[in-house]
């Protein structure tokens, strides 16, 4: 029988909201699932906690709370998949967030009466998921999810919701959401959230958009088809055998003739790499054998020998006809080489969009530039996607980390930002320097003398650098650089530069087992041991340096 949870994947941080605007916190995953199961007023929802929105969970309109307050984690029962942005069959269970008709007209809210008085309302059909203005199919319409439109002349229209690829796959199975969990070699798949028997980096929380659920076959990284880690200790991973759908694949995204983002929709005809090598034809296996064939990637337009990005690389690339260079990136003109589109963060109206620049190293820059040198848009500082980081306004309150504006919170050489490109963590910003100031010199670490040398000794005290200058019997020590009253030519600051023989401090230049000593100012006593306490075992915090590392990186 197992527990009720067997039918759910892990509910991380799932909150339960009911229309009565109270927020229920389930005390256990079982209790959470119980509510999801039995109390139909609860909708276990999908989505991503809106990190930008520090507003509390509930909204003025309780029903809106169900729609807007989106939860972390994805609830899904084996075989029945909630809340994906795709539909099965007529889409009666579709609970995604598409809110436009197939003609692109915005949907009317189901709770509204204007411009159309709805027959299907949330009150009359509480189980139909009629939230907000999302496309739904409350009347089991054969043509699938639809909505009332905001166009007074068109009462309703159908929406364009892709078919979930459940028992088959289109293209290379990037959108496969089925439940096959066995490899072509017959091995059972390992769960994605497990590190046994194979440890790996494909953690569901690192790839939330890839639906790495249970141990189902998936294609999160541009392989020719879905795969999984296997439960066999001897076989780390293998492909799965998912049949191709017989229905026509989803309409391809309109291709571009220039580079935008990672160029996955680039459909131009550049066929030379950045170093000038000619591209090898995709359907050829010479001079380089490979798996990036048009058959394996039917939706990636691997035509001729044109540069493409079929597998989530940083940008379009190709195998080359040069036997010594297997593959190389291509230089595709950026679509943004024109003026970058207006950033979709609000530019404060009072801010006149002027040619901005930064002073010094830009730590004080508070402008609104939000694009990097290579034209990538900056990720909002408050967001942890696609790049997790610790440069938040909480950690750096005086760094002006607002929106996705270029900043220099860590005294780097110039303003920078994390980029919205998952494969490029951060880049310097496209900003000029205001003044002619030279490059700042690297801040010197505080002088080592600031460091207080402990007045205690470790082991035999050969490293003791304290300032005790009296022997155990109270005699004053003679200066190491002096020859009076006792002349000595062996232990002097010049003969032992590293022994710390300064002034008349007790030292142990010869590693004497009994610890530090000194020549004495008493003519009758040449030298004597000093009496210095042993240090307690060192207290330290591992991994925390006292001097800030530069963290220079080929970011």
């Amino acid at each position: 029988q197992g527990s009720i949870l067997d039918r759910y994947v892990r509910t991380e941080g799932a909150w339960l909201l009911n229309p009565m605007k109270q927020v229920y916190r389930a005390n256990s995953e079982e209790e959470c699932a119980e509510k999801c199961e039995n109390e139909d007023k609860f909708a276990c929802r999908d989505g991503h906690l809106n990190l930008h929105d520090s507003k509390p969970f509930f909204q003025p309109n309780p029903l809106a709370a169900l729609a807007l307050t989106r939860l972390k984690g994805l609830e899904s029962m084996k075989g029945v998949v909630y809340l994906l942005e795709c539909k099965e069959g007529k889409g009666v269970d579709y609970r995604g967030t598409e809110a436009k008709t197939q003609k692109g007209v915005r949907c009317q809210k189901w709770a509204d009466n204007d411009p159309h008085k709805p027959k299907y309302t949330p009150e009359k059909y509480p189980n139909a998921g009629l939230e907000e203005n999302y496309c739904r199919n409350p009347d089991n319409d054969d043509k699938g999810p639809w909505c009332y439109t905001t166009d007074p002349d068109t009462r309703f229209d159908y929406c364009n919701i892709p078919e979930c690829e459940v028992e088959c796959m289109h293209c290379s199975g990037e959108n496969y959401h089925g439940v096959v969990a066995k490899t072509v070699s017959g091995f059972e798949c390992q769960r994605w959230d497990s590190q046994q028997p194979h440890s790996h980096g494909y953690l569901p929380e690192n790839f939330p958009e890839k639906d790495l659920k249970n141990n189902y076959c998936r294609n999160p990284d541009g392989e020719p088809r879905p795969w999984c880690f296997t439960t066999s200790p001897t076989k780390r991973w293998d492909y799965c055998d998912i049949p191709r759908c017989t229905t026509s694949p989803p309409p391809p995204t309109p291709g571009r003739q220039c580079l935008s983002g990672r160029g996955e929709d680039y459909r131009g005809t550049v066929s030379v790499t950045e170093s000038g090598n000619t591209c090898q034809h995709w359907n050829s296996q010479s001079p380089h054998r490979h798996a990036r064939t048009p058959e394996n990637y039917p939706c990636q337009s691997l035509d001729e020998n044109y540069c493409r990005n079929p597998d989530g690389e940083k940008r379009p690339w190709c195998y080359t006809t040069n036997t010594t260079a297997r593959w190389e990136y291509c230089d595709i003109p950026s679509c943004d080489s024109t003026k970058p589109e207006a950033p979709d963060v609000d530019v404060p109206d009072q801010a006149e969009v002027i040619e901005e620049c930064y002073q010094g190293n830009g730590v004080t820059y508070r402008g609104t530039a939000s694009f990097t040198l290579s034209g990538k848009k900056c990720q909002a500082w408050s967001s942890m996607s696609p790049h997790r980081h610790n440069k938040t306004a909480e950690n750096f309150p005086n760094a002006g980390l607002s929106q996705n504006y270029c900043r220099n919170p860590d005294a780097d050489s110039r303003p920078w930002c994390y980029t919205t490109d998952p494969s490029v963590r951060w880049e310097y910003c496209d900003l000029k320097k205001c003044d002619g100031q030279g490059i700042l010199t690297v801040p010197k670490p505080p002088q080592t003398t600031l460091e207080t040398n402990p007045e205690c000794i470790i082991e035999n005290g050969v490293d003791y650098r304290g300032t005790v200058a009296k022997t155990a019997r109270g005699r004053t020590c003679q200066e190491w650089s002096s020859q009076r009253p006792h002349s000595h030519d062996y232990f002097t600051p010049t003969t032992h530069p590293r022994a710390g023989l300064e002034k008349n401090y007790c030292r142990n230049p010869d590693g004497d087992v009994n610890g530090p000593w000194c020549y004495t100012t008493d003519p009758r006593k040449a030298w004597e041991y000093c009496d210095i306490p042993k240090c307690p075992p060192p207290q330290y915090e591992c991994g925390k340096s006292k001097f800030r590392p530069k963290l220079c990186a080929q970011r």
Binding site: V442, D463, R498, P549, Q554
Partner: protein
Amino acid sequence: IVAGCVSHPHSWPWQISLRTSYGMHFCGGTLIDPQWVLTAAHCLEKSSRPAAYKVYLGLHREAATEPSVQIRDVEKLFKEPRRADIALLKLSRPAVINNHVIPVCLPKENSVLGGREECYVTGWGDTRGTSGGGYLKETGFPVIENKICNRPEFLNGRVKKHELCAGNIHGGTDTCQGDSGGPLVCLNQDKFVQHGVTSWGLGCAQPMKPGVYVRVSNYIPWIKSVMESN
């Protein structure tokens, strides 16, 4: 370190320089405890005598002229029994922990780095003509999932389960000869954790040839048992 940059002095206080008994640098290493250093087993192939080695700590220049430098003899060598490229050195006496000498944190047993983690490597190794020779250098790049690193166009199945890959796909910066044994550290909250020991690579900073590091989290039980029993 090829490319990258010269570090702020003493900003990687766990980095040590492993030297011959007459003071020549030949490998890196990491202070993980006042009296223990982690390094690569292949650094100890020349001699199995502890007296053949010295450990320099608290330095920034390879010349080791700073007053903060501490020098220790090696009391014992411990190579990983299943011949992984990782080894422990017990120092003749503990290092003095101060602003210049601080041990690094170790990862949890079998912990795995998520995708796209950015980590840092340091060392006094070969710079292949890039700037900063003679000083401790650093560079940073992402850890690459073994599955991708083992693709034909990269290291083509050479990376073992107990190893990890890190570097830039298009090369340009990397560890190199003389950096072996040194740390690959990743920031976790506000502390640096050592996830890798610099081990091997196909050349240095070559496109499509990321560096390979011993996955430290696989060897936590061994490290603990050796330190506790010695």
